[in-house]
C-alpha cells in the first residue's frame, strides 16, 4: 500500500480491499468473483458474490448468512492456499467462532487483514493468534484508552448476580446481544441453576454449529406463543428492542452487553436497566499489544475513529495511518 514495495499487494477499491496478485477481495461489498471472508457478521459477509473462501469453522455460519446456494469453500486455520500469485492462510482472530485474520503473502511480503479481533480470552471461539507481518490492516473500533475490558469471568459474574437479583425480586431478565457471537458468548457464561434460558429465534440457527464446534452451552429454550418467562433470562438481538415482539416482556429488567457500555452516555441513552461491558473487539491495551506484536512496518487502521490511535502509534515510531474506507461508521456493531 503506502510502502512502494507493497504497492501491489492490497488496493482499496469501492468494493473493498482487493489483492491484484490473487484477484480476490477481502470482505467485499457489491458483486465480485472471489471473496475471502474474515467472519460471518453481516457487515463483513455479504451475499451476492460468486465464490467464497473462509475458515472451516466459519463455513456453516457463513452459509446461514449468505444462503445455501452460494459456492463456499473453506480451509483449516493455518493451511496455506495459493491463489494465482498470492499465498493466503486464515488465522484465528478471537472475535467470534470461526473468525479469522487473513494472511496474504505476495513475492515474500506479508500483509495481514485483521477483520475484527480480540486477544482476550473467549470460551466460545478459537483463541487469537498473533501473526508476524510487514503490513497490518487493523480494526480499531475501540481505539481510545478509555476502553479497557475486564476478564469475561468478571462480567459473567455481574450478569449472573443481576439475573439472580432480578429473580429474587420476582422479575425476569433480558439481555440484548447480537445473535451471532455475543449471544452465544453470554449464554456460555450464564449459570443455569438460576433459571431457564430463552433466546429470540434469530439466535437459534447458529446454536447447533457452536455445539458441533465443541463449545458447550447450557440448554436454550425457544420462545413460543404461550411461553411465560417468569424469572428466566432472555437473550435477544438489539434490533427487536422497539418491535412488538418486546410486548411479551413488559416489566422484565433489560440489560445490554457491549463494549460501548463502558461509557455512561451511551449506556444511559439506551434506556436500559443495566449495561454490561462485554466486547468482541480488542480494547485499547489489546490493540496496542497486537499492533506492536505483529512487528508490522506499516499499519493501516479501519473500522472506527483511527485518528487518535494512529497519532499515538506514530509518536511511538510506528508508521500508522487511517485507511480511508467508505464504510466508516461512528458506532461499529458490538
Amino acid at each position: 500500500m503506502s510502502n512502494s514495495r507493497d504497492n501491489q499487494i492490497l488496493i482499496l477499491k469501492k468494493e473493498g480491499l482487493y489483492c491484484p496478485a490473487g484477484d480476490f477481495y477481502v470482505d467485499p461489498r457489491g458483486q465480485v468473483k472471489r471473496a475471502l471472508i474474515t467472519h460471518a457478521h453481516s457487515d463483513h459477509a455479504r451475499s451476492g458474490h460468486e465464490n467464497y473462501l473462509c475458515s472451516d469453522s466459519c463455513r456453516p455460519l457463513l452459509q446461514i448468512r449468505v444462503g445455501q446456494k452460494n459456492k463456499i469453500e473453506s480451509i483449516p486455520f493455518g493451511t496455506k492456499q495459493t491463489i494465482q500469485d498470492a499465498i493466503v492462510s486464515f488465522h484465528p482472530a478471537g472475535h467470534i467462532l470461526g473468525s479469522s485474520q487473513i494472511r496474504i503473502e505476495v513475492r515474500g511480503r506479508v500483509w495481514v487483514v485483521s477483520g475484527d479481533y480480540k486477544p482476550q480470552a473467549d470460551r466460545t471461539c478459537e483463541p487469537f493468534e498473533l501473526v508476524s507481518c510487514h503490513g497490518f490492516i487493523s480494526e480499531c473500533t475501540f481505539g481510545l484508552p478509555v476502553y479497557r475490558w475486564q476478564p469475561e469471568e468478571e462480567i459473567y459474574d455481574q450478569i449472573n448476580r443481576w439475573w439472580k437479583h432480578n429473580k429474587d425480586s420476582g422479575q425476569g431478565s433480558l439481555v440484548f446481544a447480537y445473535s451471532l457471537g455475543k449471544a452465544q458468548r453470554i449464554v456460555a457464561g450464564l449459570d443455569p441453576s438460576i433459571g431457564l434460558i430463552y433466546a429470540h429465534s434469530a439466535v437459534h440457527p447458529f446454536l447447533e454449529h457452536y455445539q458441533n464446534a465443541g463449545i458447550s452451552l447450557p440448554e436454550i429454550k425457544k420462545i413460543e406463543k404461550d411461553t411465560v418467562i417468569a424469572n428466566g433470562m432472555v437473550i435477544a438481538p438489539p434490533a427487536v428492542e422497539d418491535s412488538s415482539w418486546m410486548k411479551k416482556f413488559r416489566g422484565v429488567k433489560r440489560g445490554f452487553a457491549s463494549g460501548w457500555m463502558a461509557i455512561r452516555g451511551p449506556r444511559r441513552r439506551k434506556n436500559i436497566d443495566r449495561g454490561f461491558v462485554l466486547s468482541d473487539h480488542a480494547d485499547w491495551p489489546g490493540l496496542i499489544d497486537v499492533i506492536t506484536g505483529t512487528g508490522a512496518e506499516v499499519v493501516k487502521l479501519t473500522h472506527g475513529n483511527g485518528d487518535a490511535l494512529s497519532r499515538f502509534l506514530g509518536e511511538k515510531g510506528i508508521n500508522a495511518s487511517v485507511l480511508n474506507e467508505s464504510s466508516f461508521r461512528e458506532e461499529e456493531l458490538d
Binding site: 481510545l144 484508552p145 478509555v146 479497557r148 463502558a262 461509557i263 455512561r264 452516555g265 451511551p266 444511559r268 441513552r269 434506556n271 436500559i272 436497566d273 443495566r274 485518528d307 487518535a308 497519532r311 499515538f312 509518536e315 461512528e330
Partner: protein, 552 residues
Amino acid sequence: MKEFSQLFHDLDEATKTNDRLDHLVQYLTDADPKDSIWVCWFLAGNRIKGAIKTSELRTFASERSGLPQWLLEECHDRVGDLAETISLLIASQGEGRGKVGLAELIGKFIEPMVGMEMEQRRENIFAAWDFLGEKDFLPFHKLLTGGFRMGVSKGNLCKALARVGGVQPAIIAQRLAGNWSPKTLRMEGILNPGVDEDRVCQPFPFCLANPLQEEVENLGSVKDWQMEWKWDGIRAQLINRGGTCMIWSRGDESVGHSFPEVMDAGKWLPGDLCLDGEILAWGQEGMRSFSRLQTRLGRKDPGPTILRREPVRFQAYDILRMEGSDLRSLPMEERRKKLEITLSSLPADFPIGLSPLVEGESWTNLAKLRQESRARGVEGFMLKKKNSSYESGRVKGSWYKWKIDPYLADMVVVSAQLGHGKRSNLYSDYSLAVWNEQGELVTVAKAYSGLSDSEIEKVDRFVRKNITGKFGPVRSVKPSMVFEIAFEGARSSGRHKSGVALRFPRIKRWRTDKKIEEADTLETIRGFTGMTGETKLADGTKVDREGNLLLF
C-alpha cells in the same frame, strides 16, 4: 466512602425517579450522619469551590496514566464528562487501600487542597488515587469537578429526607434553603420533627407556576381566579424579623447585599413577616427593562452613583408569614387581603410596593389585554386560583403563567459543544447565527433544548463530520443546519458578535426544508423586539409610581 460510591453508582444506574428515591432513602437511613449531611449538601446543588482547577486535574491525570494530554482530550471528547474520562484512564489500584467515610475523605483529600501550592496538590491527588478503589474514582472526581447531581432534584432530596425523618417535605425544604454547610447544619437538625424557631429568617420554598397549556376557558369561571401581570424581574422573598431584613432569590441565594435600599425599607415593615414578589428596575417614570436590572445583579454593596442611576423596587404579590405565623395554608384571596392591608399606607417613593391585580370581566377581555403585554414590558399574566394555598415547588392546577407567544426566527447552527448528563458525549449545545447587513452570519443565541433524542443523535453525527475548527470545548461547524428558534426578547450584549442576545432561546424545530440562505436577518430580530440599530436598550414608561400599569 464505600457506601457513598455505591449510592452514586446506584443512582447512576437507576432509570426511574422512584428507584432513585428508594436508593437515597436507603442510604440516608443507613449512612453515618457525618457523611450523609455532605450528600444532602451536594445534592442541594452545592460544591466545594477552589479545590483544584480542571486544567491541573488534566495534567495530573495525564502524568498518572502515562498518556499524552492530547489523547486525554480526545477521550474527553468521546466521553463528554471530564470526571468520567479521568476515572476511566486512571489505572485501578484494586479494592482501594483505605476505608474512610465520605466526610473523612473530604477532610483528608479535598478541603485541604483549597489554598495548596500546585506541587502539594499533585502529591495530594496522587495520594488520593493510591488510596481509593476503582468504584470510588468517578464519585471522587465528580466531587472535585463539582458536577454531583445524579438525577436527584432538590425536591426529591426533600422527599427522601421527609421519608427518613417523618417530617413534611416543605419543612425539610425550608431547612435546606438558604446558605448552610455541613459545618453549620447537622442531620439531626434537618430531620428534627420539632419547629424551627431559629430558621425564620430563611425563605420558604417558592411556589412555582406551570405554563398554561390548555385553552384558558377550561380553567372555569374567571371569578375563581386572581390575575396579575407577570413581571420580568427577579423573583424573591423579602423577610423582616425584628428589624433584620433578608432577601432571598429563587436559587436560595441571599441577594440582599445587592439591593440595600430594599433591605433598609424592609426594616420599616411590620415585624416578623415574609413577602413573595419580584425585584424590578424602577425609575421615576416607573418600571424599566430587565437589562437595566442586570447592572445591579451580582454587584455587592453598590455605590451611591449606581444606586441613584439604577434604582430598583420590590413588587410584592404574596404574604407568607405575618406576625410570626405561617400563612401558606390560607387561601390566596385571604393572603391577598392581608398583603393589601400590610402595604396600604406606604410612602410613594418607598422601594417596596404592591403588585396590582388585573381586573377582567371575562377570559375574552383578558385575552385582549394580554396582547398589550409586550408594550407594557411584562411577559403576560399570572393566574392564581383564589382558593389556592401556597405550595412548595411547581404546582398543578392552581397557579399558571399565561405567557405571550414567543418570537420565532430561523437561525443557522455555526458551532456546537458537548452536552451534560445524559447528553454528555453528544454535541447538543448549539450556537445560532443570523445574517447581518454585511452578509455575515453573526451569533445571537445559544440553545440546547427542544430537539428529540433521535434528532440530537442525527445532529451529533452531522457535527462530527463537519467540524471546521476547535476553540476549547467549542467546535465550529460548517453552516448548513437551520433551526427555528423561539425566544422571549432581545437585548444588547457584548457576548455575541451581533451585539444582540436573545432571552430564553430554545429550539422549536429543525428546519430540514430550509437552506442557510433562507435564515433570518439581524435586522428582523431587532425589528421584532423593538430594538433599533443604535438604541439598544428598550426602555419606556409602562407603570406609574403606584405600580398601576398605564394604558389600563
